[in-house]
């Protein structure tokens, strides 16, 4: 178990190091989420209400995540590095978990900027809304890392990724919006937790079949 976690840590650390050097994912995510919120701020009618604003927050977060996921496996695709990871004797699910953690770190960094901006532009965020963001982000990164690996191996990857990812992200958006606006946010938070658990286990188990022919 400790060897498995050490592999996951080494792989996630590698992704963070690559991003610190290349800076080709996080700046784009930050710029996108901020500019989207600014545009929504001016586009939304003054009488639109807070519920509409929460919906737009989730649109911004999901597409920001998609931007990060589209670049998640670029370093592995260049120079065939994924072959080296697949051939290593470590458990192949460690590759998925390392990528999920790194993607989650990038998304969390984008959210650290986006959520205060949302509060300034639109409406306050209570604890249940923040809980929804945390749980949905975990689900987005767990499922997204798997489907982006599938898309990375395909020829039409730019088209394939949104086609695979967005339908799977819809329940997360529903859960996130529900946790933000419902009088009973506990139900939506429980739903998000269940989604995370089910899809994380499925992704963990399926990853090996995605990266081998």
């Amino acid at each position: 178990m400790s060897a498995y976690l050490a592999d996951v840590a080494a792989l996630a650390r590698k992704d963070l190091k690559l991003e610190l050097r290349a800076r080709d994912t996080l700046p784009a995510m930050l710029l996108f989420v901020l500019s989207t919120l600014v545009v929504f701020h001016f586009a939304l009618p003054a009488d639109a209400g807070e519920d509409a604003a929460y919906g737009l927050l989730w649109v911004a977060l999901v597409f920001t995540a998609l931007l990060g996921l589209a670049r998640a496996w670029v370093a592995e695709r260049e120079a065939g590095a994924l072959d080296g990871l697949v051939l290593a004797p470590s458990d192949r699910s460690a590759i998925w978990l390392g990528k999920t953690l790194a993607t989650l770190a990038f998304l969390a960094a984008a959210e650290l900027v986006a959520l205060p901006a949302f509060v300034v532009f639109f409406a306050p965020l209570d604890a249940s809304a923040l809980g929804g963001v945390v749980l949905a982000s975990i689900g987005i990164c767990a499922v997204g890392s798997l489907v982006s690996a599938m898309a990375a191996a395909a020829r039409g990857r730019e088209v394939l990724l949104p086609l695979l990812f967005l339908p799977l992200a819809i329940p997360l958006v529903v859960g996130g919006v529900g946790a933000s606006i419902s009088p009973d946010p506990g139900t939506y938070l429980a739903f998000l937790g269940l989604y995370d658990a089910v899809f994380a286990i499925l992704s963990w188990a399926a990853f090996e079949y995605v990266v081998t022919e």
Binding site: L11, A22, A79, A81, D83, V86, A88
Partner: protein, 201 residues
């Protein structure tokens, strides 16, 4: 499979759609044998090597490999490295994943031997093709493989690098099984125990 063998392929076939890239490939490779694979471009050399290391599965036929995944070394067409990591960081990452004992000493020794010690802190993106190929060889040798599979390993190497590799292959043939796909089979005359010539399907 016989204990003396490291690989046994019988009737291997690999298709992509309706196109057969490989058909009817059979051979045995002893534990300290060296198989040299030749053939023109498009004859399926790379596909065969990817089958042997487990990166692809045969469409038909059987392939028995008496070596764990972690004891296989592979240098493919791509260097299998991270371009934005340094030579040292790349080898350290793969050394961790391959559980290489005394990793730092082994990495230092390989970088010295392949003339990359002075460039150890440079990113691979700044390397020439020849240096990248040398580093790819270091990565493949890091965990002291029992089966080493090399796809055109002399490509991109200058004459000094190619001579160095020739010498390395002679000494490696005493400790592990080799499979080498090459357009210059005469460089491997000293080590080859089996030859396989592929033609276009």
């Amino acid at each position: 499979m016989d204990d003396a063998l490291v690989l046994r392929a019988s009737g291997l076939e690999r298709r992509y759609g309706s196109r057969a890239v490989l058909r009817g490939i059979s051979f045995d490779l002893p534990r300290l044998g060296a198989l040299v694979v030749t053939g023109p471009n498009g004859s399926g050399k790379t596909t065969l090597l990817r089958l042997l290391v487990g990166l692809a599965a045969p469409t038909r036929g059987t392939l028995e490999i008496a070596v764990d995944r972690g004891r296989v070394g592979y240098v493919g067409h791509e260097p299998i490295l991270y371009r934005e990591l340094t030579a040292l960081e790349n080898l350290d990452l793969f050394g961790r994943l391959y559980r290489v004992p005394e990793r730092r000493e082994r990495i230092g020794m390989l970088l010295e031997r392949y003339g990359l010690w002075d460039a150890r802190a440079e990113r691979v993106s700044a390397f020439s093709r020849g240096m990248t190929q040398r580093l790819a060889l270091c990565r493949a040798l890091l965990h002291e493989p029992a089966l080493l599979v090399l796809d055109e390993p002399h490509s991109a190497l200058d004459e000094d690098g190619a001579v160095l590799l020739d010498g390395e292959l002679v000494s490696l043939a005493e400790t592990c099984a080799l499979v080498v796909a090459t357009h210059t089979p005469e460089r491997l005359d000293g080590v080859a125990t089996t030859r396989l010539a592929l033609g276009r399907s």
